[in-house]
Amino acid sequence: MKYLQEYRDPQLAQEYLREIHRITTRPWRIMEVCGGQTHSLVKNGIIEMLPEKITFIHGPGCPVCVTPRHLIDLAIYLCETAGVTLCSYGDMLRVPGGEKSLLSAKAAGADVRIVYSPLEAVKFAAEHPEKEVVFFAVGFETTAPANALSVVHAARQKLENYAILSSHVLVPPALAAILQDEECCIDGILAAGHVCTVMGFEEYFPLAAAYQVPIVVTGFEPLDLLQGILMTVRQLERGQAIVENQYARVVQKSGNIAARQAIADVFKISDRQWRGIGCIPESGLELKEAYATYDARKKYPVQMPEVNEGDTCIAGEIMKGLKKPFDCPNFGRNCKPETPLGAAMVSSEGTCAAYYHFHGDAHFSSEERSA
């Protein structure tokens, strides 16, 4: 595959690894922000190939994992009780809400459809005026422009049967919240390449300066990650804390101006509940008043009860970088992808699911495995 294979070159990977090993003299803890990066680090076996002194902390960048339970419950209510056709990205379907997931609601007869783009949901709404269609607008800054455009398209077509259930979250406020935490032990950050493709990386300058952490905008292929790690370790070893851009083939300093404008036109910043972390001020997006008729929460004013994650799940501490999945007594025992106790075990981008999927339950005895 052109433009992918080049970034998976085994010889270049070895050269990056040799250089990382050569320059690493002290223990460093690096957080990769995005779930896609977690997936790639684990899938390619990169973490095991790095010096033992480098520890990876898996950040909050899995949108599925941080969507609060009560919003999933609301989505389930809309399609089960309010008779709505709910369109969603695929990996949102398996995430458990308070009682069940969208997948089990679908199995019980609710109209839940997987789409790849919110514009497919708009098209469906236009073709089915008899149905009320809601798109579950989950994601970081990456998916926000397309979701914003879906509302613009629906407005242009004067559709009255389309709305979005917005659960958008923003990366910089979450990073600030994590870096402010007294227990925070993060030395360097790999910023999420695709989020920065949309937003650019100017908003990371004050974070790097205030918390004295190097932040390197990093892509997702093995060589991207290895180069991003090398750039971060170089800064750390030199005592630097600046923002650098590894993913320069895609990311520009100011991001994608048109995409940012689409977000600004349709959304406004709001406080947001993060599953496993709690409420972070000004860390979410919701529809502006001008588009209120496309806001599913206003169209269907139902209040779902807040549901706690439960005492057993340590996903919040994992996302803050305080713990690893293996530190959890439930990991691989009571909590597995088929029976998740928390959201991080659900999406393949979720830290626990990525660890379970690619590391497996290797640290358990065979008796436990078969149990």
């Binding site: 595959m1 992918l4 998976r8 070159d9 085994p10 990977a13 070895q14 995005c34 896609g36 997936h39 684990v42 899938k43 390619n44 076996g45 990169i46 095991e48 190939m49 949108p63 599925v64 990205y89 695929g90 990996d91 949102m92 379907l93 398996r94 997948l103 459809r113 997987i114 789409v115 790849y116 497919e120 989950v138 994601g139 970081f140 990456t142 998916t143 695709h194 093995p222 597995k336 992808p337 088929e338 999406s347 393949s348 981008e349 379970y356 999927h357 690619f358 590391h359 497996g360 290797a362 065979s366 495995r369």
Partner: protein, 352 residues
């Protein structure tokens, strides 16, 4: 009542027996059922067993036989590279082949949904006939039912197959040994991606076609040449190659190592998997199988397999190991290692 040249003509509204769609009447056991079977099924599949028109067939069988059944509920029923008809034949033929048997007889159970067009039904029957002829199996018994609209998905098919075991066949997961090489007979993941490319909501333009194909020829060729050195055979259908490998490690107390770089995937399929966020190791195949072969004959077995048309991309993808029992470990393209586990459910596309 109508008038022609001022004369009144009376018409008796006799129901037209030939309809262009399947109706509940076709499953009633009456005239419509008989017409459907006479014109569509018996005439097409005629052989000495079906011509008896009995409820079952009497077969003369000696020696070890393999016996298998499979049901086919695929949606859409027509897809790039095939349709549910040939899939229903090859699926059961391949299950027999994986036992090391020569496919000989099939049963054919059809569950039709009211409203299925006769045209589609005929196309599917024709595909079944062509696939059976290609393999050399005879359809010797069957059944047809019709369900109300909304109670099925156009057509469901069940086929059951019987065939004599190859005299040298000794196929079992228990016969796998450390050092055995694992051979796949070609590029993986085409079927699942071809189906996904035409599913509602996920449709995308591609030239990817299902790999649906009978596997008895390559299997019998391997058994002719290497006999008991072929330790285990599995077709990598639902859940793909990764699921089969995991099932094997659960049946025998051994581990499996595979190398991502040695797993053949057609470039367009690999590209589609990247876009959709799917791992080709977990995507379904309908014409791919894994053979676990004694190391000393692996090179020759690969060469033989690759010489059979349709199998030219065959590749040794890994080996059986005594370390890490119960686990499948993949070496990534850059040399890192990871565990390849079982899927918890359907492989769902990722957000970003």
């Amino acid at each position: 009542m109508a008038t022609t040249n001022g004369k009144v003509q009376l018409h008796c509204p006799v129901p037209k027996p030939e309809t262009e769609i399947i109706t509940l009447g076709h499953g009633s056991g009456g005239i419509l059922t008989n017409q459907l079977l006479d014109s569509g099924v018996f005439s097409l599949f005629q052989n000495q067993y079906l011509d008896e028109r009995h409820d079952g067939s009497v077969l003369r069988l000696n020696g070890k036989i393999a016996f298998t059944t499979d049901s086919f509920v695929i949606s859409p029923i027509f897809f790039p590279g095939g349709n549910i008809g040939e899939l229903a034949v090859y699926g059961t033929v391949n299950d027999l082949a994986m036992c090391g048997a020569t496919p000989e007889f099939l049963s054919l159970g059809l569950i039709l949904e009211e409203g299925l067009t006769m045209d589609d039904f005929r196309k599917i029957l024709t595909a079944i006939k062509a696939a059976a002829d290609l393999v050399g199996v005879e359809i010797v018994t069957g059944d047809t039912k019709v369900v109300e609209r909304g109670k099925g998905d156009q057509i469901f098919i069940n086929t059951t197959g019987i065939g004599h075991l190859h005299p040298q066949a000794n196929i079992s997961a228990c016969r796998i040994r450390p050092g055995d090489k694992i051979i796949v007979n070609g590029e993986i993941a085409s079927h699942g991606i071809a189906i996904m490319s035409v599913r509602e909501g996920l449709a995308f333009e591609s030239d990817i076609r299902s790999d649906t194909a009978p596997l008895h020829q390559p299997v019998l060729a391997l058994l002719d040449a290497f006999g008991e050195n072929i330790h285990c055979l599995r077709d990598a259908t639902r859940g793909g190659v990764a699921t089969v490998l995991n099932e094997i490690t659960r049946q025998c107390p051994l581990g499996i190592d595979i190398r991502e770089t040695d797993i053949p995937v057609q470039a367009s399929v690999a590209g589609a998997c990247e876009i959709l966020g799917l791992d080709p190791l977990y995507v379904a195949n309908e014409g791919k199988f894994l053979s676990f072969v004694a190391a000393e004959v692996a090179g020759e077995a690969l060469a033989l397999l690759a010489s059979i048309p349709g199998n030219s991309q065959a590749s040794i993808i890994g080996e059986v190991v005594a370390t890490h029992p119960g686990q499948v470990i993949a070496t990534s393209i850059i040399g890192g290692r990871r565990m390849v586990g079982m899927l918890p459910g359907e492989q769902l596309p990722r957000i970003c």
